[in-house]
């Protein structure tokens, strides 16, 4: 299974910019979701990607791990 990464952002403008940049790339599947409660209690959006190396600015990147049906986010930076 492909490993997935979750990127958080400083502002919603950064999210729009990142989504725009990703759309120009091939073979990068992304999903835009509200930032999970485990990561932030603030209203924000995150991107889930199947690649870690991308050229947009973000706040943090997390590896998405699944253990016993539960999802965990492991901070990488």
């Amino acid at each position: 299974m492909t490993e997935e990464y979750l990127f958080t952002f400083r502002t919603s403008h950064e999210v729009f910019k990142a989504e725009k940049d990703i759309k120009t790339l091939h073979n990068v599947h992304y999903k835009l979701i509200p930032t999970p409660r485990e990561i932030s209690s603030e209203c924000g959006f995150s991107l889930i990607l199947n690649k870690c190396q991308v050229n947009f600015s973000y706040k943090h990147v997390y590896s998405i791990k699944k253990k016993k049906g539960k999802i965990y986010y492991e901070k990488n930076n």
């Binding site: 919603s12 999210v15 729009f16 999903k31 835009l32 979701i33 509200p34 959006f45």
Partner: protein
């Protein structure tokens, strides 16, 4: 010519089988199917949608629900066409299980296969959401779009699955969008038992009826009924 099929008291999948038989009636025959439970109603409605019959009226008389439609002149029912390239969308039980029981998936299979009604649609007791815009809240459209995407994703994560999500006015852009993530979320809800309903007049007005990707089309009468009968309604 009108034919009434009373399925009250019959157990699943009999209502669908009788509806399927009714499609063999001469073209333009008006068919009225009477059902006495939600599962039968959902099954018959989905069967009609997948048989290409979209002009369906649903009303509730006493404890019975009426489903009215006409046999199409060019019948799309499997038994009427011989071409092997013709496909009929039918329901099939998925072997996958979820916490709510069996997930039902609509699978497109060859017409020679037998139609299987989904008898174990989870009965949802959740809230009904009326979405009257393609954006969430007032303000910048770009932000409204983002918030709506997030809102619909979050609905899929609720413990209590919504009973229905009704899309009216520009809300119908959400059930016809090319955004596969959004459609995936709505299909996820539908598979869990949520009714995904789009306003027919609205789809027609925006000329996007053919682009409907999830759920079924309904008219103002059924929408009013769905809203009126609901004590747990949230308007977005």
């Amino acid at each position: 010519m009108k034919k009434i099929i009373d399925t009250s008291g019959l157990s699943c999948p009999q209502p669908v089988i009788l509806t399927k038989k009714a499609l063999k009636e001469p073209p333009n025959t008006t068919i009225q199917v009477l059902v006495d439970n939600e599962t039968a109603k959902k099954n018959v409605l989905r069967f009609l949608t997948f048989s290409g019959i979209t002009d369906v009226e649903v009303s509730t008389e006493n404890s019975l629900m009426e489903i009215n439609f006409s046999v199409p002149s060019e019948n799309t029912n499997g038994s009427h066409k011989k071409s092997s390239s013709d496909k009929q969308k039918t329901f099939s039980k998925s072997s996958a299980s979820s916490k709510q029981g069996t997930i039902s998936k609509d699978i497109e299979i060859e017409q020679s296969s037998n139609f299987t009604a989904v008898c174990d649609i989870p009965v949802t007791t959740g809230k009904t959401y009326l979405i009257s815009s393609s954006v969430f809240g007032e303000g910048e459209e770009k932000l409204g779009n983002l918030l709506m995407k997030g809102f619909l994703y979050s609905l899929t994560q609720l413990d209590e699955i919504p009973k229905a999500v009704i899309f009216i006015n520009s809300g119908v852009f959400l059930t016809t969008t090319d955004n596969s993530d959004l459609i995936e979320n709505l299909k996820d809800l539908e598979n869990k038992g949520t009714d995904i309903v789009s306003c027919g007049t609205c789809l027609d007005y925006y000329n996007i009826k053919d682009s409907l990707k999830v759920g079924y089309i309904s008219n103002m009468y059924s929408i009013v009924e769905m809203i009126s009968n609901e004590t747990k309604l949230i308007r977005i």
